[in-house]
Every structure is written in C-alpha cells, then in structure tokens.
C-alpha cells in the first residue's frame, strides 16, 4: 500500500474563477458563507479550506473540487 508522507502544497484557481464570473471577493464570501478575509487567505494560498467549504466552492463555481484545488503539475487541463 503506498504511503503518502510529507506536506502537500495545494494550489487553487479561485481568483481566476472569480474573475471569470466577474464577482468581488465579498460576493463570493457571501455566497459560500465565509468572511472576505477567508477568501483573501484562500486566494493567497495561505489557508486550505475544509472539505465542506471546498464542496461549497465547487458547487458555486459549478465544477469539480479537483478543478479548483490541485497539486502543482497535477492540474487537469
């Protein structure tokens, strides 16, 4: 059984998706029920969301979680 050890660096494209939708950070924060500071932290990559918030973001952007969150080099095109 493979062991996955060490810290995984997770990237996201929330900022791009938000720009595509043409909405503000506050709009997105209100939509997924978090504060604007959380959206800023997510876009900066300084905070990894919970699975629940990740699902909420995916639902909001009408896409899969893997389309939003990915490891470097593993993003689906």
């Amino acid at each position: 059984m493979p062991r996955i050890v060490g810290k995984l660096t997770i990237y996201n494209c929330i900022q791009e998706l938000r720009h595509d939708k043409n909405i503000t950070q506050q709009d997105l924060a209100d939509a997924v029920d978090v504060t604007r500071a959380t959206i800023i932290a997510l876009e900066k990559g300084s905070y990894n969301p919970s699975l629940e918030l990740a699902f909420r973001l995916a639902k909001f952007f009408e896409t899969d979680i893997e389309e939003i969150f990915y490891e470097r080099g593993s993003r689906r095109e």
Partner: protein, 197 residues
Amino acid sequence: MNKIIRLIQTYLMFGFPFVMICMVWETIYTENKILKDATTLTRTLWDALGWNLMLWFAVLIIFLVMLVAVPSVREKTLRRLANLKDRDEREEYITGKASRAAYISTLSLMIFFLFFSIFSFNIYRVPQTEAINGKHLFASISIGFNLLDKPAVENYSKKEVLFKSKNFSLSTSAIILILLGWQLLIFNLTARKERLK
C-alpha cells in the same frame, strides 16, 4: 436567563462609576467628615452611594459565580475580552491555533512558577564562633513543597541572612494577574500572527 444576565452586566457597567465616586469620596474625606454638618442632600447622596456600593459588590459576586458555573454566561461575557472571533471556519482554525499557543505557553509559565515557589536559594553569614573550617559565609539551595503556606517560624540561629530567594516570591494575586495577562497576550499575538499569514 439571558435578560437577567444582560441586566446584571448593564448594572455592573453603569454602577461602576458610582462605586468609584463613593470610594474616592470616602478616601478624600472620611465618612465622619462627610456626615459632620452634612446637608440633607449630601447625607442622602452619601447613603445612596453607600447602598449602591454594597449592592454592586453583591451583584459582582453573583456574576463571578455565574461566570464560573454557567457556560453560556462565560461564552457571552468572555468572548469580547478574549477577542474570540468565530465567524467562519478559518477564524475557528485561528482560535484553535491561538488557544494551543496560549495553553502551551501558560503551562510553561506555571511550571516556572511552581519551580520558583519550591526552590529556595540563601546566602548567609554565621558568627566567628560558629564558623566551620574558618569559613563563615555560606550558601544553601533547597527544594521543598508545602500544600499549605506555613506561618513564618522564628529563626534562633545567629546567622545573618544576606540573600534569600524567598524574599522575591510573588503574591498569589500577582501570580494570577501575570497568568491572566500572559494568556490574553499570547492568545491575541498568535491569533494576530495567524490572521496576517
């Protein structure tokens, strides 16, 4: 219950200035001076302030007991003092990190205080008649734990104590105040650091 708590909090907050006025008035002029040749208005005002002082302290005691015993009161009252913000999951995460840091650092501070309270270091000088091998300057290190503070025991030895570490022991209220301040400081500093990440 909520209404009662709000009423108590409001009374404690707005009654405090009158408690201070009463205390300052009593400190500047003694009660005898205030009541001597006092007009009816002064006497009434003094009586009202005195009753307020007694009631305020009684309410304060009830409030402090509620703070310890009732979790909802604790949550509502101390949330602002502790600067807790749990509006979303990230803030809960920050609170968790800051609580951990505050807990660990307070634990280390308490271990230090415990060591400081049981450790004793003394330097003393004995008279020439009690000198051992011509030496009359001594240092002693000891560790002792007592569950209760013992009354000071008269020392019949003629030795002159030059330095005694127990002379620098902090009072109970000072230790509690330091722990309180330390916990608030570490919690807020860590939370701030996490928020700015």
